[in-house]
C-alpha cells in the first residue's frame, strides 16, 4: 500500500510558497488589485515566463540566514571584547566608516522599503516573492551594518547620529535623493534602477573595494559583515539581470523605456559612487586598488561584456558612459578636494595625503595626479603649516539632479568646470553635467521640488543662518569633535594615545602635515 509522503520536496515547497500565492481573482478586477503595474508603459504579456533566479524557499532562507547571523554576532562580540578597533591600520580609516554609516546604511533601509513596496505591486507572484525576500535582506543589511560599526561609536567621533544626519546633512542629500528618486518611481523603474543599474552593474564598485578595504585595514567587524552579505548580494545581482531580461523579452515596446531608465540610473549611480571613489583612494590608509582600476575592472570590462550581451535585445551601453570612463582619472581627487575644503560641515575628518600615498596616486594616476592634483595638496599643506588650514567659507552651487556640488570638469578639459543651465517655466536651474541636465529635461516636475541643502539653509529652514549653527543644531555634528581637519582632532589624539605616542608626533602617513 502506497504511503503518501507527508514531506514536500523542495520543488513542491517552492511552488506552494510562490506561484500558488497567485490566483485568478473572481470578485475584484486584477487592475484594482495591482494598480501600479501599467502606468509606466511596460507591457507584460506572460508573467509565467518569470524565471526565479534562486529557488530559495522561505524556511531554507530563515535557517540559512539565522546561521549566518549567529556567526556574525559572535564575531562582533569577540571584536568588541578584544578592543578590535585598536588593531586597525590607522584611525583615519574610521572616517570611511563614518561616511558609510551615514551615507550607505540608510540606503539599505531605503532599499528595504522600496522592495517591500514593489513586492506588493506586481501581478506576477514570482516577482513579488523575489522582491519581498530582497526586502528582508536589505533590512538585515541595514541592521548588521549598524551593529558592525557600533563598536567604533564608543571610541571615535562622528558616528553617533547616522540616520538623523542622513535626512539633513548637505552631502548626504546625494545618496538620500538618489533613493528617493527610485522609490518614488513606478515598480519597473525601481527594479531597473536598483536591481539592475545599481545592484548588477555598479554594486561591485561599492562592496568589493569597501570590504577588501576593511580587510586591508584590519577592520574584522566590517569584513565579517561583508562576508555575511556576500551570498545575499550574489542573489540580488542575479535578480537584477533576470529583471531586465524578463522585461525586455516580454515586449519590444519595453526596449526604449528600459533604455532611458538605464541611461538615467547608470548616471545617477555613477554620480553617487563618486563618494566611494574618494573613500577608496583617500580614506583607506592601506590601499586595495585605485578607483580608476576598480572602474576598469568592474565597469569597463564587466559592464562592457554585459552590454554586449544585452545588444540582442536592442539595448546599447548607457549614454554618457564615455564621460564616466574619462572621469575615472579625476573624480576621487575632485571629491576629496571638495570635502577637504568643507570639512567644517562634515561628520568626518579630512587631511592631506602623506608622501607615500601621494606617490601611490602618481603611480595609479600617471596622466593626472602630478599635473592637476598634487599641486593642490602641496599648496594646502604649506598653508596649513603656516597656520592657515584651508576651508571654503562660502557655500557651493549644487546640481539640481544629483545634488553634488557642481565640481566636476569637462571630459578632456580637466581645468574647465562642467556646468549646464536651463530655464523651465520661468525658473533657472543649474546642473553639473549634460547628463544630469538631460535627466531633468525628461522629468522636470520631479526635480523642481529638489530639497537642495544649500538653498534650504538660505531659506532659513535649517535652524540658523550661519554654517556653525546649522552644523551644530540642525546636523547634530559636534563642532571641534566630529568635524574639521584630522591632524590634531580628538580622534587623532585618541589614536596616538592608544598607540602610546605623544600628540606632538605627526600623523602616521601624513608626514607632510604640520601636526
Amino acid at each position: 500500500m502506497a504511503v503518501k509522503n507527508k514531506k514536500l520536496n523542495l520543488k513542491d515547497k517552492y511552488q506552494y510558497l510562490t506561484r500558488d500565492m497567485a490566483w485568478e481573482p473572481t470578485y475584484q478586477k486584477k487592475k484594482d488589485i495591482f494598480p501600479d503595474e501599467d502606468f509606466e508603459g511596460i507591457k507584460i504579456t506572460d508573467w509565467s515566463q518569470w524565471e526565479d533566479p534562486f529557488r530559495l524557499t522561505m524556511d531554507a532562507y530563515w535557517k540559512y540566514q539565522a546561521e549566518k547571523e549567529k556567526k556574525l554576532y559572535a564575531i562582533f562580540d569577540a571584536f568588541a571584547q578584544n578592543n578590535g578597533h585598536q588593531n586597525i591600520s590607522d584611525a583615519r580609516y574610521v572616517n570611511a566608516l563614518k561616511l558609510f554609516l551615514t551615507g550607505v546604511s540608510p540606503l539599505e533601509h531605503a532599499a528595504f522599503q522600496g522592495y517591500a513596496k514593489v513586492g506588493r505591486q506586481f501581478s506576477g507572484a514570482g516577482a513579488r516573492v523575489a522582491c519581498q525576500m530582497q526586502a528582508i535582506d536589505e533590512l538585515r543589511h541595514s541592521q548588521t551594518q549598524q551593529h558592525a560599526m557600533s563598536h567604533y561609536n564608543k571610541h571615535f567621533n562622528g558616528l553617533h547620529d547616522a540616520a538623523y544626519m542622513h535626512d539633513r546633512v548637505w552631502f548626504l542629500s546625494v545618496p538620500k535623493s538618489f533613493f528617493d528618486d527610485a522609490r518614488s518611481a513606478g515598480p519597473f523603474e525601481f527594479l531597473t534602477a536598483i536591481s539592475f543599474s545599481f545592484e548588477y552593474v555598479l554594486t561591485n564598485l561599492l562592496f568589493v573595494p569597501f570590504m577588501s578595504g576593511a580587510a586591508y585595514n584590519g577592520d574584522m567587524a566590517t569584513v565579517t559583515f561583508g562576508f555575511s552579505a556576500q551570498s545575499d548580494e550574489a542573489r540580488h545581482m542575479t535578480l537584477g539581470l533576470e529583471v531586465i531580461k524578463f522585461i525586455l523579452e516580454q515586449h519590444e515596446d519595453n526596449v526604449p523605456i528600459v533604455q532611458r531608465w538605464i541611461d538615467k540610473w547608470f548616471w545617477r549611480g555613477f554620480r553617487l559612487l563618486s563618494l566611494v571613489s574618494m573613500m577608496m583612494d583617500y580614506m583607506l590608509p592601506n590601499k586595495v586598488m585605485s578607483w580608476s582600476e576598480a572602474w576598469e575592472v568592474y565597469y569597463e570590462q564587466n559592464g562592457g561584456a554585459l552590454f554586449k550581451d544585452l545588444e540582442r535585445y536592442g539595448i546599447r551601453p548607457p549614454k554618457y558612459q564615455d564621460v564616466a570612463n574619462d572621469a575615472k582619472h579625476h573624480i576621487s581627487h575632485q571629491l576629496w578636494g571638495t570635502f577637504y575644503q568643507y570639512s567644517q560641515a562634515t561628520n568626518f575628518h579630512t587631511w592631506i595625503p602623506g608622501k607615500e600615498e601621494m606617490d601611490w596616486m602618481s603611480e595609479k594616476y600617471p596622466e593626472t595626479f602630478d599635473k592637476y592634483y598634487r599641486p593642490r595638496y602641496e599648496h594646502w599643506a604649506k598653508e596649513h603649516a603656516e597656520g592657515r588650514r584651508f576651508y571654503n567659507n562660502t557655500l557651493p552651487q549644487l546640481c539640481q539632479v544629483c545634488q553634488v556640488p557642481t565640481l566636476f570638469t569637462e571630459m578632456g578639459e580637466p581645468t574647465k568646470l562642467s556646468h549646464r543651465q536651463m530655464n523651465y517655466e520661468g525658473e533657472r536651474y543649474h546642473f553639473c553635467s549634460e547628463a544630469c541636465c538631460d535627466i531633468f529635461k525628461h522629468e522636470p516636475e520631479k526635480y523642481v521640488q529638489a530639497w537642495l541643502p544649500v538653498h534650504q539653509i538660505y531659506q532659513g529652514n535649517c535652524e540658523g543662518g550661519d554654517v556653525e549653527t546649522v552644523v551644530q543644531k540642525y546636523y547634530h555634528i559636534n563642532i571641534g569633535e566630529d568635524n574639521f581637519e584630522y591632524v590634531g582632532s580628538p580622534d587623532h589624539k585618541r589614536w596616538l594615545s592608544i598607540k602610546g605616542k605623544s600628540s606632538d608626533d605627526k600623523a602616521e602617513g601624513s608626514k607632510q602635515d604640520a601636526a
Binding site: 575632485q334 592637476y372 593642490r376 580637466p414 538660505y458
Partner: protein
Amino acid sequence: MSVNALYDYKFEPRDKVENFNGMQLLYVLWPNHLMFCAPFALLVQPDMTFGAMVEEILKPATASHPDAANADFLAAQWLLNDEPFTPDADASLIDNGIDHKSMLTVTTPGLNGLAGAGF
C-alpha cells in the same frame, strides 16, 4: 517630456524667489580657480549694487586664493548666464539684469590659478 505618473503630477518649484525672504540667490564662478571646488552660491539683496556685491561678498569669498590680491574684478570680463555682460558697478543687481538664480562668470586675464593647473 513630463513625468509618467498615476495622477496629475504638478508641484511648486522649491526654490522660488519668494521663499528667500526678500533675498535672492546668485552664483559666481571664477574660472581657472578650482581651489574653490564649485561656483559660489550666494544669498544677496536684489537692490544691492554690483560694486557692493564684489566688495562685500565676492572679495571675502575669494580672499584665501593667492590670485585674489591681484584680481581687479570690476575691470574683469563678465558673463551673465553665459552671455557677455558689462556690469554697472553703481546699479543694483536687479537693474543689472541679475535675477534670482542667475550665474555670473568672471574671468581675470593673466590670473589663471596656481601651478598651471587652473587651481
